[in-house]
C-alpha cells in the first residue's frame, strides 16, 4: 500500500480562450479501496478546483463516468486504483463532444440515437386504466431486461473502430436497443420496419465485427451475440424472397 500514484489527465476547457489541450500530471497518495471516483474528487477538492469530470450514481448504475482509462473506455466509479500501475492516464471518451477535461456530452448523442432508432414501443393500442395488464412470459421479460440493462455509458461506441471512423454508424448501443424492441411483443413494428432502421451500412451491416463493444461493456451485455444474430436476421430479411423455400429463415433473437 501507500503508493504514490501519478495521474496524467487530459486538460482542455473549450470555453476558456487561454486553454490549450494538454496532459497534466497530478500526484496522489493511494488509500485503501481507492476508486477513480475517490481519486478524482480528491484531486478536484485538494489540488485543482477547475478539474472537470462526471460522476452521478458512483455505483456503476447510471453510466455517467465513462472515460478512457489507460487506453480503454470504462466506468471510472468501479475502477479500483489497485488494479492499475503507478501511472494512470485518463482521457475523455472519443466520439462524443467534449465539454471540458474528462467531461463529454453523451446526453445529446444518446437522445439523437433514441430518436433515430425510435426507441419506444410502437403500438396502436390505447392504455386502458381499468383493465388488467397484458400477460407476458417471465422468461421473455427477463430476456428483454437482459438487453435493457444497457446504461448508455458510451463505452461501446468509444471502443468501436467503426464508430470512430464513421460518425453516422449507429453503434452497438443502438443495435442492442433495436434488438430489445425486436424481442418485445408489445412493439408492433414489422421486420421491414426494423430493416429500414438498421439494414444498412450505417446500421448492422456497417459493423465490422471488431468486438471492442463486447470487450469493454461494463454491464457485460451480450453484444457480440446480439449483433451477430441481428446481422443474420436482417440478412435473411433481405434475401428471403430470393431464396428457395427450404433456405428461407426467420431468425429469432
Amino acid at each position: 500500500m501507500a503508493r504514490t500514484l501519478t495521474f496524467s489527465i487530459f486538460r482542455y476547457n473549450p470555453q476558456d480562450p487561454a486553454s490549450v489541450p494538454h496532459m497534466q500530471e497530478f500526484r496522489l497518495e493511494e488509500t485503501e479501496s481507492m476508486t477513480l471516483f475517490i481519486a478524482l474528487n480528491r484531486l478536484r477538492e485538494e489540488q485543482d478546483h477547475s478539474l472537470q469530470f462526471d460522476f452521478c450514481c458512483r455505483a456503476a448504475i447510471c453510466g455517467a463516468c465513462a472515460m478512457v482509462i489507460n487506453g480503454r473506455p470504462g466506468l471510472a466509479c468501479h475502477s479500483k486504483t489497485k488494479d492499475y500501475p503507478d501511472k494512470i492516464t485518463l482521457m475523455p471518451l472519443p466520439v462524443f463532444k467534449l465539454i471540458g477535461d474528462l467531461s463529454v456530452d453523451t446526453g445529446t448523442w444518446f437522445r439523437g440515437m433514441a430518436k433515430r432508432v425510435e426507441s419506444w414501443c410502437h403500438t396502436k393500442k390505447i392504455f386502458d386504466p381499468t383493465a388488467q395488464e397484458e400477460r407476458m412470459d417471465n422468461a421473455l421479460a427477463e430476456r428483454i431486461y437482459e438487453l435493457d440493462r444497457c446504461v448508455e455509458c458510451g463505452c461501446c461506441v468509444a471502443a468501436c473502430g467503426t464508430a470512430l471512423m464513421r460518425d453516422d454508424f449507429l453503434g452497438a448501443v443502438a443495435l442492442n436497443r433495436v434488438a430489445r424492441f425486436v424481442l418485445d411483443p408489445r412493439d408492433e413494428r414489422s421486420e421491414q420496419d426494423y430493416f429500414d432502421i438498421i439494414g444498412t451500412d450505417e446500421g448492422v451491416f456497417g459493423c465490422m465485427g471488431l468486438l471492442g463493444c463486447q470487450d469493454v461493456c461494463p454491464k457485460s451485455l451480450p453484444l457480440q451475440e446480439v449483433l451477430g444474430k441481428l446481422r443474420l436476421k436482417m440478412a435473411f430479411a433481405a434475401a428471403n424472397h430470393l431464396l428457395p423455400r427450404f433456405l428461407r429463415r426467420e431468425i429469432k433473437l
Binding site: 487506453g71 471502443a159 430493416f195 451491416f205 465490422m208 471492442g212 451475440e225 451477430g228
Partner: protein, 219 residues
C-alpha cells in the same frame, strides 16, 4: 437510413443493397476459405508423392476444373477484395484513427482486423501474380513448380512471404465470419480463437513443408 434525405425519383430507396453486399462479402470469403483448404490438400499431396499430385492435377485438367475453376477463383478473389474494401478506410485520417484506436485499446480483435486489411492488400497483388503464373501455364504439375522454385531465389522468397500471409488472412477471416454472423457465442469465442490459431499453424507448416518438398524434389 433507408429513407433518403435527398430527393429521389423512387418512392422508396432500394435499401437491400447493403445486405446483399454483406452476404456476398461473407460468401465469397467463405468460398475462398474452402478453396484454400482444398488447395492445401492438393499441393500438400506432393509431400506424399509427386505423382499423387500430378494425378490429382490430371483429374482437374480432364474435368475442366482447372481451366474454369482457376479463373473463377481469380474472379472471387477480386470480388472479395472489392467488397471488403468498402469497409477499409483509404483516407489517411481514418487509417490513423483505426491504428491509434487499436494501439490505445490493446485490443486483439481490432488488431486482427488491421491485419486483415493489410494482408488483404498484399494478397491482392501476390495472389494475382501467383494465379497468373500458374494459370497461364496449365496443367499444374509438381515438376513445373519444382523447377520454378529451384531456379529462382526470388520465387522462394515470394512464397515464404505469401504462404503465412494467406493463411493468416484465411484463419482470421474464418474466425471473423463465425463471430460476426452470430455462429459462435460469447463463451465460444476464445476457444474458437485458439482452435483457429492451431489450424492456421498446421496449415502454415504443411504449406512450408510443401514448399521445401518442391525445392528438393529430385528429377
Amino acid at each position: 437510413m433507408s429513407i433518403p434525405s435527398y430527393a429521389t425519383h423512387n418512392p422508396r430507396a432500394n435499401c437491400r443493397s447493403s445486405a446483399y453486399l454483406d452476404w456476398l462479402q461473407m460468401l465469397s470469403g467463405a468460398c475462398l476459405v474452402i478453396f484454400m483448404i482444398m488447395h492445401l490438400f492438393f499441393v500438400g499431396s506432393v509431400i506424399i508423392s509427386p505423382s499423387l499430385m500430378n494425378g490429382l492435377s490430371d483429374v482437374f485438367e480432364w474435368t475442366g476444373m482447372a481451366q474454369i475453376g482457376g479463373p473463377v477463383i481469380f474472379f472471387l478473389l477480386l470480388l472479395h477484395f472489392v467488397l471488403a474494401a468498402r469497409k477499409i478506410p483509404f483516407a489517411s485520417k481514418q487509417q490513423g484513427i483505426m491504428l491509434a484506436d487499436a494501439r490505445r485499446m490493446h485490443h486483439l480483435d481490432t488488431w486482427l482486423w488491421v491485419i486483415q486489411a493489410v494482408s488483404g492488400m498484399v494478397i491482392l497483388v501476390m495472389g494475382s501474380i501467383h494465379l497468373w503464373t500458374v494459370l497461364t501455364d496449365l496443367p499444374i504439375t509438381a515438376e513445373k513448380n519444382a523447377m520454378r522454385l529451384r531456379d529462382s531465389a526470388g520465387w522462394v522468397s515470394f512464397y515464404v512471404v505469401f504462404i503465412p500471409i494467406v493463411w493468416l488472412h484465411t484463419g482470421i477471416g474464418f474466425y471473423r465470419i463465425m463471430v460476426k454472423w452470430g455462429v459462435v457465442g460469447i463463451d465460444g469465442r476464445s476457444s474458437l480463437r485458439q482452435k483457429d490459431a492451431l489450424v492456421v499453424a498446421a496449415a502454415m507448416i504443411i504449406g512450408f513443408a510443401t514448399l521445401l518438398r518442391f525445392i528438393f524434389l529430385s528429377k
